[in-house]
């Protein structure tokens, strides 16, 4: 006897199952690097701090639609704040975080004001100019205060706890990612975030409804720049040094690549894409190593050829398309 249970009568999955599964997955993702330790743990920390910065850019660029090339500059502002405070004033990470966040806030507001009338590619150029100015200033600071050695930062002390092992750094990083995620997600879902989205979609309608372009833009720039500068402090302490050359325009372009790869506006996407960009060279190098191509080979540049190809493929939804193509062919074959 066959009974087909009407769909309507079929019991749906309990509502708690999904969040529980998600919690388990997140716990596993956090635990695995801690268990494995060593080099993978170091990479997890580096990727995590990149993800924190990438999340701010994805909100700025994806949610609010403001294309910015200033990511490297704001990270640099944070890093140099940490360096100068540590070297010239003997101040540690906590004051550095607060002061850098404040600088990020003010400078972000300044950039927003200066580029108020423009958007899209033109805004990107305004932020490009800002990047150049910061680059020159930090280069000067590096020569004058450190004789081109850069600032050296020792292990940070946070609320009495010295963060001096990769495991402690991982704990701190996970906390930072969670904090930044919750804060940005909350903002996005609030009326402030809806204003940002509205301004992106239809600026004229937004203006007609009384949404202030200045306030909205300034808010998103100031908040994201502030967080980015704070992440710059953390990254500088994690790296252990601050040099102007670490914050070239390529950093800004790399972060935009991360945002695009993770789909602009998606916080989870930004986290995943950060790790992808960080880790991708490793399997590429390993694969090339199998064919005898390494750092001593004349054709070591093949790594970038492969990296670029993979990025293009991913950016254009390559995996989905290939899957769709295969499905289509299989369907044709069956029919």
């Amino acid at each position: 006897m066959s009974h087909s249970i009407p769909l309507a009568a079929a019991a749906p999955l309990p509502d708690l199952a999904r969040p529980a599964a998600l919690a388990v997955a997140v716990a596993a993702v956090i635990a695995i690097p801690a268990i494995v330790g060593g080099f993978p743990l170091q990479l997890a920390v580096t990727g995590g701090l990149m993800a924190a910065a990438a999340m701010t850019l994805t909100v700025l660029t994806g949610t609010a639609g403001l294309l910015s090339l200033a990511q490297g500059a704001f990270l640099s502002v944070g890093a140099f704040t940490a360096g100068v405070l540590a070297t010239s004033f003997g101040l540690g990470i906590l004051p550095a975080l607060l002061i850098a966040a404040f600088f990020g806030l003010i400078l972000g507001g300044g950039v927003a004001l200066l580029t108020l009338r423009v958007s899209g590619i033109y805004l990107a150029v305004g932020t490009f100019a800002f990047h150049h100015v910061v680059e020159i200033l930090t280069g000067d600071i590096e020569v004058k205060l450190t004789q081109a050695t850069g600032f050296i930062l020792t292990h940070p002390v946070l609320f009495g706890l010295t963060v001096d092992t990769p495991l402690k750094w991982w704990g701190l990083t996970v906390g930072v990612i969670a904090l930044v995620f919750v804060a940005l997600n909350f903002l996005r879902r609030s009326h402030i975030g809806r204003e940002w989205t509205f301004l992106r979609e239809d600026p004229s309608a937004a203006a007609a409804l009384g949404i202030s372009l200045l306030r909205s833009r300034a808010t998103v720039f100031m908040l994201t720049s502030s967080i980015t500068a704070a992440v710059g402090v953390l990254s500088a302490y994690q790296l252990g040094n601050v040099q102007a050359g670490n914050y070239s325009i390529h950093i800004a372009i790399a972060y935009l690549t991360i945002v695009a790869l993770g789909r602009a506006g998606s916080l989870i996407g930004a986290i995943i894409a950060s790790y992808v960009i960080l880790l991708l060279p490793i399997p590429i190098e390993a694969t090339l190593g199998l064919f005898g191509v390494d750092a001593t080979s004349h054709i070591a540049g093949i790594e970038n050829v492969l990296l670029g190809s993979i990025l293009v493929f991913s950016l254009l939804n390559g995996p989905d398309r290939v899957l769709a193509l295969i499905k289509g062919r299989l369907r044709h074959g069956r029919g």
Partner: protein, 394 residues
Amino acid sequence: MLRKLGLSLLFGGAIAANAVAAEPYKFGYLVDASGPMQGTFKATLDGFQLYIDQINKKGGVNGRPIDVQVRDIQSDTQRSVNAVQELATTDALAILGLAVSNTHAAVYSAAEKLGLPVVAGYPANIPLALPPATPNAFATGLIFSVTGEVAGKLAHTIVPSGKTLVCLGFESPGSLLACEAATKSAQANGFTKTESIIVPLTQRDFRSVVDKVLALKPDVVTDCFGRGHVVSLLPALGAAGYDGVYLNMESGIGIDALREAVKDSPDLKLYTYSRYIVNGEGEGEQAKALRDAAKQAGTKELLTYHAAGWALGQVVVDAVKRCGPTCNKQSYTAALEKVDVDPSGLSGAPIKFSPTDHYGASAYRLYKFDHATKAFSAVGDWVQATSTPVVAKK
């Protein structure tokens, strides 16, 4: 005599066989193999590898071969730090290489946390190794505050009555430091008018810069540039009719590039000064050994990088010998602080480190280019420099 030779051959063979079986001394070498600076700095690795290969052929050190694990860092800070962390897991005794200064500080910091010493090679090093030296930072290349100071002295040697010196540099802390040192030194050596012209890092068209230089009517133009800058600048300088002295800092340029760059500028008086011999010439045991090894390896032209890489090899192996058979990171660092090698023929001063000075005294040779023979020849003797330049480390 023959019996002694036979015995040594026998034992040498046995040692070599044992060396193959014995646990190697491991080192990590960071190089830009496919990034923006690859053309300039990979050759130092070639020179270093030549030295290590001939040591290994003779059976290694203490019966153990030297194993160098090379990582391509593409002049990128994050890749450099990742490489250090990864190499630390392979029992590397030290991190070597580091041609471009913008990644040094990050590498030193990362290495220091892991207890790994860093020996930076040719050409650009940051002043961490100068006294009072940072615990794990050693250097055998050019620290620009020292090298820049030498430029001022040599400018006076070339043009004793010279009054105006222009230093050309680019937007990087190392280059800014070099020009600061060069102009200060020139002033101390009789030049009354000195000016630094700093160009953006990405400057490639130098024609407007050349106009600015010529307007100053300099007696000597000196520089702290990368290979790409020099290859673009010198032809423009020659084409504009500059017939004065150009004193190039050999900081990864290569005399092959210099020769090509002044091909059409017969009036330009080109000099270069270098810490290591520029074209494989030179008397001395090490210079000869380098020539032999390069010939065997089929190296087309010996340049400064090869000599500098070979000298780095000497330093690394000398420390291994002092470290002894049971060598670890800590004992290797301690051994590095006792390094005392004679580059005999490759440079004009021994490379000698101490607990507070991980750079030591250095020497520089001035070379003059002859347009007719298209060759560089040494002028005068080696100029000595201490590790305490006027533009001192803070």
